[in-house]
């Protein structure tokens, strides 16, 4: 039986269909999930995709965080369900406090779309086991509110516990503290990052390259071996 990965659609989500495609290309089954449902349809893992849920009004992720499906996601994430938040999904996860810190507007005040170099700093999470520790990958980045901030204690804790999962290389595109591109919770099942691995899964599409596929093969491996 193949692994079932749920992909949530909030109103204003943009990358849900792309994420489903990435899940399929990795060999798993993509299960669409709707924000108004509480039911996760017994999926083995959940992705909160990118986009502008609720137009990013108020704060990115602030309104989606209160949708019915998030009640279930929060509950099950605490019980170990693998959850990946990409871009807007990451913003939702920080708003729920499943992941610490917060996302603010880019320090240059502009939307930025670029091919971004990252280092995988933690290859032990549910979503990164298919990468090597320290591996450098290229993944597109596109956002308005990508500046990761947290208080000093939280930052120190993240660094000490190896919970900075991805760091920007060459260019810090938004003023994120410690060049943080993505983080994980202590258990390693909840991961969030600003760049878009689902846009780097086919050679000729997007920025080119398939460096993002590893997120989806990682979770597959994790689930099949579980």
């Amino acid at each position: 039986m193949s692994a079932r990965v749920g992909v949530i659609t909030f109103p204003g989500t943009l990358d849900d269909r792309d994420t489903q495609r990435a899940v399929r290309l990795a060999g798993a089954e993509a299960v669409p999930l709707w924000h108004k449902d509480k039911d996760l349809k017994q999926v083995d893992a959940v992705v909160l995709p990118g986009g502008f849920s609720y137009g990013d009004y108020l704060r990115a992720g602030a309104i989606s965080r209160f949708s019915p499906i998030m009640e279930t996601v929060i509950e099950q994430a605490k019980a170990g369900l693998p959850v990946l938040g990409i871009c807007n999904g990451f913003q939702v996860l920080t708003e729920t406090h499943l992941l610490p810190g917060a996302m603010l507007q880019n320090n240059h005040l502009q939307f930025i779309c670029r091919e971004q170099k990252l280092r995988v700093e933690n290859a032990d999470t549910a979503w990164t086991v298919d990468y090597e520790q320290g591996q450098e990958i290229h993944v597109p980045l596109k956002n308005m509110d990508g500046r990761y901030v947290a208080d000093e204690r939280t930052l120190a804790e993240l660094e000490a516990e190896g919970r900075v999962a991805f760091r920007y290389l060459d260019v810090n595109p938004n003023g994120s503290l410690n060049d943080i591109a993505g983080i994980t919770n202590a258990a390693g099942n909840v991961v969030g990052l600003m760049p878009h691995p689902e846009h780097a899964v086919e050679p000729l599409i997007g920025a080119g390259g398939t460096d993002g596929l590893g997120f989806f093969t990682s979770i597959l491996k994790k689930l099949v071996n579980a």
């Binding site: 137009g55 009004y57 108020l58 309104i63």
Partner: protein, 87 residues
Amino acid sequence: MARVVVDVMLKPEILDPQGQAVQRALPRLGFEGISDVRQGKRFELEVEGPVDDAALARIREMAETFLANTVIEDFVVRVDEPAGATS
């Protein structure tokens, strides 16, 4: 040094999608009884020197030409006094 606050709000006839989105979310979060929400910007300016009429006039001009686009926004300039009810 004194603080001057400039509040910039969309004109009443102009659509405020942000305020609307907030208002629509409130009942879902269990907050009833808010019939309208408008979201605007608040600028806090630290002014060097005295905040006299001349300074306020300059700040009003600044608000009019730069902080607000008066085609769609209204603004209010005021000297910051410790607010009444606070959090």
